[in-house]
C-alpha cells in the first residue's frame, strides 16, 4: 500500500525533472529504463552527451535532503545499469562518444508545490 504511494510519488518526481530538463534544452531518449540489472529514471541527450539521470524527490525536510540519499552505492548502481544500457542498445548509442551521470534533486512543500529543483552535472 505504502510502496505504491511512494512509487507514484517517484513517478511524479521523474515527470517534474523531465519537464525541467526539456526546458533546459535536453532531448528525451528514454524514461524509466529498466533491465535485469536495475533501472535508470531518465536517459536524455545534452548536446553531444548521452546523459543518465537519477531523480530524487523529498517532501519537506523532516528526513534530510535528497542529496544525502544519493551515496556511493546508489551511484555505482546507476553506473552499472548505464554500462549495460550501452552494451544492450548499441544501435541507439552509436552516435555518442561521451556519456555522463547527472542528478536532479527535488524538494516539495507539504502542499505538493515545488520548493526547489536542483540539477547537478557529472556527479560520478
Amino acid at each position: 500500500m505504502y510502496k505504491k504511494e511512494n512509487y507514484n510519488k517517484g513517478k511524479g518526481g521523474e515527470e517534474m525533472a523531465r519537464e525541467f530538463l526539456l526546458k533546459k534544452g535536453f532531448e528525451l531518449v528514454e524514461s524509466n529504463y529498466e533491465n535485469v540489472i536495475g533501472e535508470i529514471d531518465l536517459i536524455m541527450i545534452d548536446k553531444d552527451f548521452l546523459v543518465f539521470i537519477e531523480v530524487k524527490l523529498k517532501i519537506g525536510d523532516r528526513f534530510g535532503i535528497p542529496e544525502d540519499m544519493i551515496d556511493k552505492r546508489k551511484l555505482s548502481k546507476v553506473k552499472r545499469v548505464a554500462e549495460s544500457y550501452l552494451v544492450l542498445e548499441k544501435k541507439k548509442v552509436k552516435k555518442f562518444k561521451k556519456y555522463r551521470i547527472d542528478a536532479v534533486c527535488i524538494v516539495l512543500n507539504q502542499d505538493q508545490t515545488i520548493q526547489r529543483i536542483t540539477h547537478y552535472e557529472n556527479i560520478y
Binding site: I65, E67, I70, A103, Y120, I123
Partner: protein
C-alpha cells in the same frame, strides 16, 4: 573557497607538519570527502565534524567539501584532525576569521561540539617549538601536557562555539600560564614500603644497588619467598625523575595516550609489570603502524617480568638488542621507527617447575629433564646482560608469626634518600653527555674516564675474569656495577671491596 590549516602527523615519535586543506566548492554534487592517505579513524572525522558543527548552531554547508591532508604520502591516523577540519569548514563558509599568524590545531571532537582529551598534544607542543610556531589550539583536557614547553602560547579549547567567539573577537580564550617543570617533579609517597618486607637483607641491598645505577637484576627463589613483593616495593625506592628524563618519558606516554585527562608531565618513574602471556609485539612494540611496547613504556623506569621463564621464548630473546642498546628499532611496511627503551629489567623466577630446587626443607619433585627445559628458557645471552643475580631464599615462617615482635626493616624513604644521592653524583658526572643519565647507560668507551679502579681492585677483577671465565660484556658490566656501589659509598675511586661486592652478584650459583 580554499582554507589551509596547520596540524601534525606522527610516525612513531617522529612528527611532521600536516597541512589540512579544506575546499568548500559552490559547484558540484554536495558531498564530503577526505583524501591524503587517511586511516579509518580519519574517515570517521566526517561524521563527527558534520554533527559537531550542526550542534554548535552553525549551518553545515550543502556543498562539495574536499579535504586534503598534505603531504599525501605520509600515513595519517587518529582522531586529532577533527578540529582542523571543522575550523577549515567554518572559515570557508565565513563563520570565523582566521588570524594571519600561523597556529596549530589539534583535537578530537565530540558530537556536541566540545573537545575530547587527545593523545599526542605533548608532541605537538615540541613540534611547534621546533618550527617556531607561536600558537597552538588543543583540547582543554590535554592542554596541561603542552604547558611545560616554553615560548609557545597554549590555548585550551572547550568547544567549537568558544573558538568561534575567540576568532571573531567576542570573547578571547586565555592562553595557559607556562608551568615550571622542576616544580611539578616533587616527591611522591610510595604505595608499598620496604619495611614491610621482612628479612631478605641481601636482596634489599641488591635492589638498592640496582635502583641506584639502573642495573638489571634477576631474582631466583622458591614460591612465596617474597620476590614479587620485593619487586613491587622497588617502585617506592626508585630515584626521582630528572627534568630531562621526565620529558623523554612524557613523550612516549603522550603518544600512547597514557596521560590521564588534565594530566601534565609524567612525574614518577614508570614501573611496568606485564603478564607473562604478553605477546612479543606487546612487549617490544610493533603493529603495522608501529606503536611502543612495554619496554618503551618502561623507558627510564622498571620493567618487571615476574615468572620470567613462563614468557614466550621469542619475547624473551627479543629483549636482547634493546637491553644492550637502550632503544628498539621497529621496521614495518610504513617505515622504520625507533623507540627509546632504556629500562631496568627486574626478572623473577623459580629455580625449577615445582619451585623447590635447592630448598633445604622441601624436596624437589622435578625430573632432571624438566629442570633442564625450564632453565633453558633463561638463555645465556639474556643472563649475560643481567648485572645482578640474586638468590632469594625461603623465609622461615616462624619469624613471621603475627604474635611475634617484629624487627621492622629500613623504610623506603631512607633507602630512597641514599639512592637519590648516588643518582645526583651520577648526573653530575654525565652532565655533558646527552643520553646518559646513570651508570648503566655508560658506553664502554666512557669507562676509562668515569670508572677509575684502584690497583687492588683492578687485580681482583683480572683474577675474577680468569677464574670464572667471564665474557667481555660481563667484565664491562661488572665495572659499571662497581661504579654504582662506589657511588653509594660516596667514593670517587672504585676500591677492592666495591668490586668484591659486585662480583658476588655476578657469579651465578651452580645447582
Amino acid at each position: 573557497m580554499l582554507i589551509k590549516i596547520l596540524s601534525m602527523a606522527n610516525i612513531g615519535l617522529k612528527t611532521e607538519n600536516v597541512e589540512v586543506e579544506v575546499n568548500v566548492a559552490d559547484k558540484g554534487f554536495p558531498g564530503f570527502g577526505i583524501v591524503g592517505l587517511a586511516g579509518k579513524s580519519v574517515e570517521e572525522t566526517k561524521e563527527r565534524v558534520k554533527t559537531a558543527i550542526i550542534n554548535s548552531d552553525i549551518e553545515f554547508p550543502t556543498a562539495k567539501i574536499t579535504v586534503n591532508l598534505a603531504p599525501a604520502d605520509v600515513a595519517k591516523d587518529g582522531s586529532a584532525y577533527d578540529l582542523p577540519v571543522a575550523i577549515g569548514i567554518m572559515a570557508a563558509i565565513g563563520e570565523l576569521n582566521l588570524p594571519k599568524d600561523k597556529a596549530y590545531f589539534y583535537g578530537e571532537l565530540s558530537l556536541d561540539g566540545s573537545l575530547h582529551h587527545t593523545r599526542g598534544v605533548f608532541l605537538l607542543a615540541l613540534l611547534a617549538k621546533e618550527e617556531g610556531v607561536k600558537n597552538i589550539f588543543v583540547p582543554r583536557m590535554s592542554a596541561n601536557e603542552a604547558s611545560v614547553i616554553e615560548n609557545i602560547n597554549v590555548y585550551p579549547v572547550d568547544n567549537l562555539k568558544s573558538l568561534v567567539r575567540h576568532f571573531n573577537g567576542e570573547k578571547f580564550i586565555e592562553p595557559l600560564k607556562p608551568v615550571n617543570v622542576a616544580e611539578i617533579l616533587s616527591d611522591i609517597t610510595p604505595e608499598f614500603d620496604f619495611s614491610e618486607v621482612l628479612g631478605q637483607q641481601q636482596a634489599k641491598r641488591a635492589l638498592e644497588i640496582a635502583a641506584a645505577g639502573g642495573h638489571n637484576i634477576f631474582m631466583m627463589g622458591p614460591p612465596g619467598s617474597g620476590k614479587t613483593m620485593l619487586a613491587r616495593a622497588m617502585a617506592g625506592i626508585l630515584p626521582n625523575l630528572t627534568e630531562k628524563e621526565s620529558l623523554e618519558v612524557t613523550k612516549i606516554y603522550s603518544l600512547t595516550g597514557n596521560i590521564p585527562p588534565g594530566g601534565s608531565l609524567v612525574r614518577q618513574r614508570p614501573f611496568r609489570g606485564p603478564h607473562h602471556t604478553t605477546s612479543q609485539i606487546g612487549l617490544i612494540g610493533g603493529s603495522s603502524n608501529p606503536k611502543p611496547g612495554e619496554i618503551s613504556l618502561a623507558h627510564r623506569g622498571v620493567l618487571f617480568l615476574d615468572e620470567f621463564p613462563e614468557f614466550g621464548r621469542n619475547s624473551i630473546e627479543a629483549l636482547r638488542q634493546p637491553l644492550e642498546d637502550g632503544y628498539v628499532c621497529i621496521s614495518r611496511a610504513l617505515g622504520s621507527v625507533t623507540f627509546p627503551a632504556q629500562f631496568m629489567l627486574v626478572a623473577a623466577s623459580n629455580p625449577c617447575p615445582c619451585g623447590h630446587l635447592g630448598d633445604p626443607k622441601k624436596e624437589c619433585k622435578c625430573s632432571g629433564y624438566q629442570i633442564l627445559n625450564y632453565q633453558k628458557k633463561m638463555s645465556g645471552p639474556i643472563m649475560d646482560r643481567i648485572d645482578l643475580h640474586l638468590t632469594v631464599p625461603a623465609v622461615d615462617v616462624n619469624n613471621l608469626m603475627i604474635d611475634k615482635e617484629k624487627v621492622s626493616g629500613e623504610k623506603s624513604i631512607d633507602i630512597k634518600k641514599r639512592i637519590n644521592e648516588a643518582r645526583k653524583i651520577q648526573s653530575e658526572r654525565f652532565k655533558k653527555l646527552v643520553h646518559i643519565h646513570s651508570n648503566s647507560d655508560m658506553k664502554n668507551s666512557h669507562l676509562k674516564e668515569f670508572a677509575k679502579l684502584s690497583d687492588e681492585a683492578n687485580l681482583l677483577l683480572k683474577q675474577a675474569v680468569n677464574k670464572f671465565s667471564l665474557s667481555a660484556r660481563s667484565y664491562f658490566r661488572l665495572i659499571k656495577v662497581s661504579r654504582t656501589i662506589a657511588d653509594l659509598d660516596k667514593s670517587d675511586i672504585i676500591k677492592k671491596f666495591h668490586v668484591a661486592e659486585a662480583l658476588q652478584y655476578r657469579v651465578r650459583g651452580e645447582n
